[in-house]
Symmetry: C2
Subunit: 220 residues, 2 copies
DNA sequence: GCTTTATATTTGTTATAACAAATATAAAGA
DNA sequence: TCTTTATATTTGTTATAACAAATATAAAGC
């Protein structure tokens, strides 16, 4: 009998979907720092049971994206000023490295893509649209880092970014006035055009420095 | 009624114990790269059910210590030469940073502790005792990094080290001949005594460079 | 009104069973 | 002997129920 090989929706497991959704909620700042979560509530939200939720939660906890308290309560992590500094320090170490690796594989298409993100990002900043700003800033950076083709660096950098998510939205109620005196994104783009590795590293590093100052400033 | 507050064994959850044991197996090279694991076998080994095993496995998978294949099969990760290089590069970025932070909190006790580990390490190397060598090398490095008091850097560095575990034992069948021309541990200790930050960074970085060369060499 | 106590609810933990997909084994064919 | 097919086994996935600890709520005492 001739069977029709439909390759019907090779559907991913529920825990995978839950992981991605939860991660997105964290990245976009939909969840506030310190906010408590419960397995049953999450299971109900995602219309599943507690088992796949546990998988997703432990995965996120291992990345530092969720916090498991001493009494095993699940919550969105709180960051101290010192932790912010150290996380930004890690960014400043890893991301220039990824950028350098990316330089070998960069294409005009990627650069113009990044320009597009940067334009959207600036527009969003002018309009005070925090969500759009964050999304495009993320896209801008990872369009670059992805070109590194590093399955080691990328997940690490991603995991650091997720940790800032909950603070970004709440720390940036108004991004309109946040343009620094220097546009480090523009500098990065220029460095990419010129294939200037050290200028690229400097631009990325400075951009991260700006982010650190701004976040720390907004934290009080 | 006077209650006797015994604070009876505030026993940790099973999934925590499983996580730690599995992690130790990986760190000490008890599990070979590529080796397959199954939830039921693990559950049976740890005399528990599948649920706590899942928690532990997903946690380790998130750290890159375990690999979940495209068909969701669980296995000990395999490292390509390129991945080894990138992981070592990350070590070379993060560990000197942790060392610098540690420099502010270093005490004579920690230094002498490190000397003790280094002595044990050298003895183990002479005797060809791989397990002892690895354990003391780990202890040496983390005695230093722990002094950084960084709950950001330490877990990150730990997660990188775990990934090498499965390769260490199988790549170092004989550590007897592995002493480099320079003893970077000794240089690190000297730098600690003198509170010489840049010498400390250089020593750590060189030590990691040695490890990289050796591992790559053993990988073919 | 405030603290303390008792009760009720919610929480994470764990074992189990049923299902489907993937893999391994045995059988059959060339 | 080798490839193909059929069967059996193992595998991850998911929902559920029972238990214990932690938290929240209500009641009582002062």
């Amino acid at each position: 009998m001739t069977e029709i090989i439909e390759d019907v929706e090779n559907k991913p497991p529920l825990h995978e979907a839950i992981y991605k959704k939860l991660r997105l909620l964290l990245e976009t700042g939909a969840l506030a720092p310190g906010q408590a979560l419960s397995l049953r509530n999450l299971a109900h939200s995602f219309e599943g049971s507690v088992t796949p939720v546990r998988d997703a939660v432990w995965r996120l906890a291992a990345e530092g994206a969720l916090y498991i308290g001493p009494t095993r309560r699940i919550s969105v992590p709180t960051l101290s000023r010192n932790q912010v500094r150290e996380l930004m320090r890690v960014r400043a170490l890893l991301e220039p490295e990824a950028a350098i690796l990316a330089l070998d594989n960069i294409t005009p298409e990627i650069i113009s893509q990044m320009r597009a993100y940067d334009a959207e990002l600036n527009k969003a900043a002018m309009e005070g649209n925090v969500g759009e700003y964050m999304a495009n800033n993320h896209a801008f950076h990872f369009a670059l880092y992805s070109a590194s083709n590093s399955d080691v660096l990328l997940p690490l950098i991603e995991s650091i970014w997720v940790r800032f998510g909950p603070y970004m939205r709440h720390a940036y109620p108004d991004v309109a006035g946040m343009e620094g005196v220097e546009d480090h994104h523009a500098q990065a783009l220029e460095a990419l055009e010129k294939r200037d590795a050290i200028a690229l590293k400097r631009a990325i590093k400075s951009d991260i420095g700006d982010g650190e100052q701004f976040l720390l400033h907004e934290m009080e």
